[in-house]
Point group: C2
Chain length 543, copies 2
């Protein structure tokens, strides 16, 4: 074997026709470039994760039929493809890789370690493979593994001790290949490199990781397929956040440096891909964003424009009596900078009518959060009316810190088909805004500089009811991601126990809101919208 074609494709879940075409195109390209072997990501034929579609026999049959059609086309090259295979074990399917040669399936390998933590639910669907497989391909001995199989060897797994380390069983091979569907989070490539490097050193051979790329619901797969040599040095890295097919010459020895990017650039590119795929894969073209004059909606508008183009993003400015002159002015400046079609619609007539309509029933009661939420919900109503009328998809603009605190109005600013920045903290929103403005002022500086406010009552500021976002974000990181206790968080930051308990209490208390939130793009190791399952009814602060 001289060369391997790494087919980093972007499949759509259940799109057997589209995925098969991508696969066949890659095989043709590989042959044209003289590759001996073409390698695909985990579950490339079905798209990962297919979730409960895997429980439908008709779905699995379609997958088998699509495989048959592909197999017939394979001649003069070896193909390793990720898909499901039937099992007689605990669950009816395996998460498999098949070796296809000369119009037939030569052998199958079944994933041995099935992640069942965070966003992963593989034991719901798959039986564990029990056997290592080494395939002789064009004169080389190739060990095949699927994603998680090689992660414990580098101690890079969560909440699980498999008690088995497939990497240790690999002996006397020329190459280790790993089919992956490894979702992006900040810092994940570093971990993935560590996994590949550690495996390569132990197995004493090059490792090729072929990773899925593309957005599927909340998950964003970053691609960045890679090859390391037996010393763990990087020989090849495929594009981040894009489809790519690349030929790797087994004889190559030249090392490369991993792509260096600002974390904010990575976050930005990840969100763009997640957003674009959420639209494209569903056939949506147009987005709708409500601009408040605040930083969250400004950042979402920028991302939407970059993902979909100015012509496909409509902005609504919906001021009320409490909106500052500055907010309206700043929003206008933003839509001009972004060249977004936009409308300004005052919610005052609706808000007045709502106040009049409810007045007889609320007589003698002071204004409170009711009237604040009313404004947010009237804006939600207008966004949804435009969405219905023009077939556009509303982007919700809440960030992770707000969502943690429940500082958001259900059916108000939470409306939308996709929560673009719901997994980035308020501080990251600021960092991202500054990165967006790195060359020129796209987001008006005034939006970045003003103190955060929901503008739902006179002179309201977020700081009236929330502690500083630095504190919130630290507690968020330690409690949501790190699972630290109140005591540990108090010791780590020197915050008062009362404050930490109150913040954790708010996180638990607002679970009911998050349960009804739009799906959000996951970019951290623990997002609210996927991979985190807390009861609504429970009596613990968790601390």
């Amino acid at each position: 074997m001289k060369s391997i074609f790494i087919a980093q494709i972007n499949p759509t879940v259940g799109d057997f026709e589209g995925n098969s075409q991508k696969i066949l195109r890659s095989i043709r390209a590989a042959k044209e470039q003289g590759a001996d072997l073409v390698l695909f990501p985990e579950q490339a034929l079905l798209g990962y994760p297919a979730e409960d579609l895997l429980l439908l026999p008709a779905f699995v049959e379609k997958s088998a039929a699509a495989l048959d059609s592909i197999v017939r086309e394979v001649h003069g090259i070896s193909v390793i493809l990720g898909l499901v295979q039937p099992s007689n074990e605990e669950k009816p399917l395996y998460n498999s890789a098949v070796l296809i040669q000369e119009g037939r399936i030569v052998d199958s390998y079944h994933k041995r370690l099935l992640p069942t933590y965070d966003v992963f639910t593989e034991k719901r669907y798959f039986a564990e493979g029990k056997e290592a497989k080494v395939w002789e391909i064009a004169g080389k001995r190739v060990a095949v593994t699927i994603c998680e199989d090689i992660w414990p060897h580098a101690s890079e797994v969560f909440e699980t001790d498999y008690g088995v380390d497939p990497v240790l069983e690999i002996k006397d091979v020329d190459l280790l290949v790993n089919l992956s569907a490894s979702p992006f989070s900040l810092g994940k490539f570093h971990r993935r490199m560590n996994v590949a490097t550690t495996a390569a050193k132990t197995a004493g051979c090059p490792v090729i990781v072929c990773n899925q790329v593309g957005g599927n619901d909340s998950l964003i797969f970053d691609g960045r397929s890679l090859v390391v040599n037996e010393k763990g040095e990087l020989l090849l890295e495929l594009a981040p956040f894009e489809e790519e097919g690349a030929l790797f010459e087994l004889s190559s020895t030249e090392t490369v440096h991993p792509t260096q990017k600002d974390p904010m650039e990575k976050l930005h590119d990840a969100l763009i891909l997640g957003l674009r795929d959420y639209f494209q894969k569903q056939g949506f073209k147009k987005a709708l964003v409500g601009l408040s004059g605040g930083i969250d909606s400004a950042v979402v508008a920028v991302l939407a424009k970059e993902a979909l183009g100015s012509d496909h993003v409509h902005a609504l400015l919906m001021p009320s009596r409490y909106s500052s002159e500055g907010s309206i002015h700043d929003s206008y400046e933003l839509v001009e900078n972004l060249e977004l079609p936009h409308d300004l619609i005052s919610i005052e007539p609706l808000f007045n009518t709502a106040l009049e309509t409810t007045a007889p029933y609320f007589e003698g009661l002071s204004p409170d959060v009711t009237e604040e939420n009313m404004q947010a919900r009237l804006r939600g109503l207008l966004l949804m009316a435009f969405s219905n009328k023009f077939g556009s998809l509303v982007l919700s603009t809440g960030n992770k810190s707000e969502l943690a605190m429940g500082y958001a109005t259900l059916y108000g600013d939470m409306v939308g088909g996709l929560a673009v920045i719901s997994d980035i903290t308020k501080q990251q929103v600021y960092q991202l805004a500054r990165w967006i403005n790195r060359d020129k002022e796209i987001i008006p500086q005034a939006i970045i500089d003003k103190p955060p406010s929901a503008e739902l009552r006179e002179n309201q500021l977020d700081s009236d009811t929330l502690p500083d976002y630095t504190i919130i974000d630290n507690v968020l990181e330690d409690y949501i991601v790190g699972h630290l206790s109140v005591k540990e968080i108090v010791e780590r930051h020197g915050y008062s126990e009362t404050l930490v308990k109150e913040l954790i209490h708010r996180i638990h208390q607002s679970e009911y809101k998050r349960r009804q939130a739009a799906p959000g793009l996951r970019v951290s190791d623990k997002a609210f919208s996927a991979g985190r399952r807390f009861p609504i009814v429970e009596r613990t602060t968790g601390g």
Copy 2:
């Protein structure tokens, strides 16, 4: 051993203090009644399911501390209690039963079969126990098992073949006990009886199943703990849907008949328990229901009244220009029958203002679903305003058939903290209404008789855009619960393939709405709100 006290308790997830008190009270009652052994449900100390709370070390520590306090109190009796225990295996916890005697933990048993299908996610948290345990208690040999352990023996599991049957390993014992947290669905007791009976016959001894009771989020546990003798005859059945402690004399031979209830009575009682616990366990007292004059909201109002009392249920009638005289009249009759406090608020001023506000932007475009949704969303806005102002929890009133079809307005009639009837089909709603009216007309007959309509435009009927509910419900049952293919459904009912495909397509297309729906009470074998995980972005009709 002469007698066993079966403590069918209703724990709240994470309420270690409250749950410990219930446990200690049961132990005292058992001792007073001279029992040798007291038996609790699965995870009785923590409440089932605790979900990701189990990943918080501080939560597990609290559980251990609570256990210590209980253990110290145990004297002169044996206690078998369900809880978590630390593990060094694949996952850091076991789902365990401990035997407590004379102030110490004598032994632990770890659940061997961990359901990871439908609503169950046990392999996310627990390691499998590997060992059968037989405990010598007061001179008798007692085999201990936890829930799923004995289900495969009666072939009563889904999507899983454990390859192990703990029942077959039970030899020479005097008694088999099973700690359960087995959620209600229609027909579930029959299956649970089958499980107990089959195990009893094989093990050749009596079987005691102690099942959790109470509502936890979407899940309703029905209790109905039971004892069968070695011939599989029922000797004792505890109350359905209620806490109960009952003494079982090992010498008793008198058989009893299982409680016979109309399926609608069971459905009714289950929903009442689920509703009541959702409120009580969160400390909510007041519910709010929007009455449309249709059957769904009428049934929800009846259930709310029975669960919480007339004083704690407020009804809102929110007619528009499209509401029929009949609907308003019927709603008034209903609130009078139920003695519910209520208000009538026309949405016309708000609807007019919304039409005026959007008119300049929608010029030249015909009215469509936009204006229909607007009305539903204005009603949602009013419900939420009352909810915010008076601290009541909105009950959403959509049924399973509508939810399947996406025949509901997101942020409109879908608003609410709890979806009371989201797991019962339109046909079951009618059956339940007739059962509610079995002795006298509580729900005005006109509400039952009128053809279903959303009344969002002139002379609108559900049948304008939906096929007959009989057809929908059949497809729903076969596709959602039975996972049948288009072909199988067509053959079974003689519907056209086009129709079946279209309905299945609608089910998939409306996944995005259900993702943002309020949690719903689960009463079938496959509910939308829990235990069903489909991608939003996918390109298959699933058929």
